[in-house]
């Protein structure tokens, strides 16, 4: 009795049909591809190494410049130092002559070596 109270209705798909089944993978784009990243990193590294190499060459030239600036000043400073050294040497010889004047056969400033090569004095002055 209860069944007959409702009219018969066939169950049907919704109007317009079912929506398509989502069987395809859904992968949104997540940034540049690996190949691109690798290429970019390689390019950056290559440029960096190029700059390092160029910088090393430049450093060598800067060092050359520094060294030559010093080489150009060597004669000047050496000449000034030589005058002072000569003055001190002569004073030391005069002092030695004065001290050793009573000693027979003493040669002032005689080297202890049988060699004409110049040797700077071992001690400058005894204080």
């Amino acid at each position: 009795m209860a069944v007959s109270q409702h009219p018969y209705r066939q169950d049907m798909p919704p109007s317009g049909g079912f929506e398509a089944i989502k069987y395809k993978r859904n992968l949104p784009v997540r940034g540049p591809s690996g190949v691109m990243i690798l290429t970019a990193v390689t390019a950056v590294c290559a440029y960096g190494f190029y700059r390092v190499g160029a910088g090393n060459l430049e450093k060598r030239e800067l060092q050359r410049e520094k060294v030559w600036s010093r080489i150009h000043l060597v004669p000047l400073l050496l000449a000034e130092g030589d005058r002072d050294a000569y003055r001190r040497q002569q004073a030391a010889l005069a002092r030695e002559k004065e001290i050793m004047k009573g000693v027979e056969g003493w040669e002032v400033g005689k080297s202890v070596y049988h060699n004409q090569r110049y040797r700077p004095a071992d001690s400058i002055v005894v204080l």
């Binding site: 700059r51 030559w68 000043l73 004669p75 000047l76 050496l78 000034e80 005058r83 003055r87 110049y118």
Partner: protein, 155 residues
């Protein structure tokens, strides 16, 4: 008995009071400090080349300080001459450059701007050119490179 004291450990520096022997001609010592000398080094090298080389060849003969006094006086006189010429002609540029060197640890590469004005002035007034011997052929010498890699932090 006398004891030996190392002069280095003396409380006050020892100064030899005896002057140069009278038969050695006097020469005015330069008295220029390291900054101006470093700034002028390449011009001294260019201007006094003959005297400097003569002196170094003489020193090569004998290292005795008394051996090359004459050549040494020539070297000093030549440098003195150049220094006074630089003071007369390019004093402002020179002051600027060596002041910059003093503030930058005596590094040339940090002071290219004042150096270029000084080089220009020296070439125009005295005809002296800064050249670095042994620089690779066919390349811009390092002091004339427009955009170097090594520069000061502040340009």
């Amino acid at each position: 008995m006398t004891t030996y004291h190392d002069p280095e450990s003396s409380s006050k520096p020892y100064k030899e009071p005896t002057p140069l022997p009278a038969h050695i001609p006097k020469v005015q010592e330069l008295g220029t400090t390291s900054g101006p000398l470093k700034s002028a080094a390449f011009f001294i090298g260019a201007y006094c080349k003959d005297y400097n080389e003569d002196f170094m060849l003489c020193k090569n003969e004998n290292r005795d300080p008394g051996h090359c006094l004459k050549e040494g006086r020539r070297v000093t006189r030549c440098a003195e001459d150049l220094i006074s010429k630089m003071r007369d002609n390019c004093l402002a540029e020179w002051d600027k450059h060596w002041g910059c060197l003093e503030l930058n640890n005596h590094e040339y590469y940090q002071c290219r701007k004042p150096e270029r004005t000084l080089n220009k002035c020296m070439f125009e007034k005295l005809g002296l050119v800064k050249t670095i011997p042994g620089s690779p052929e066919g390349q811009t010498p390092i002091h004339e490179v427009k955009r170097p890699i090594y520069t000061g932090v502040q340009k």
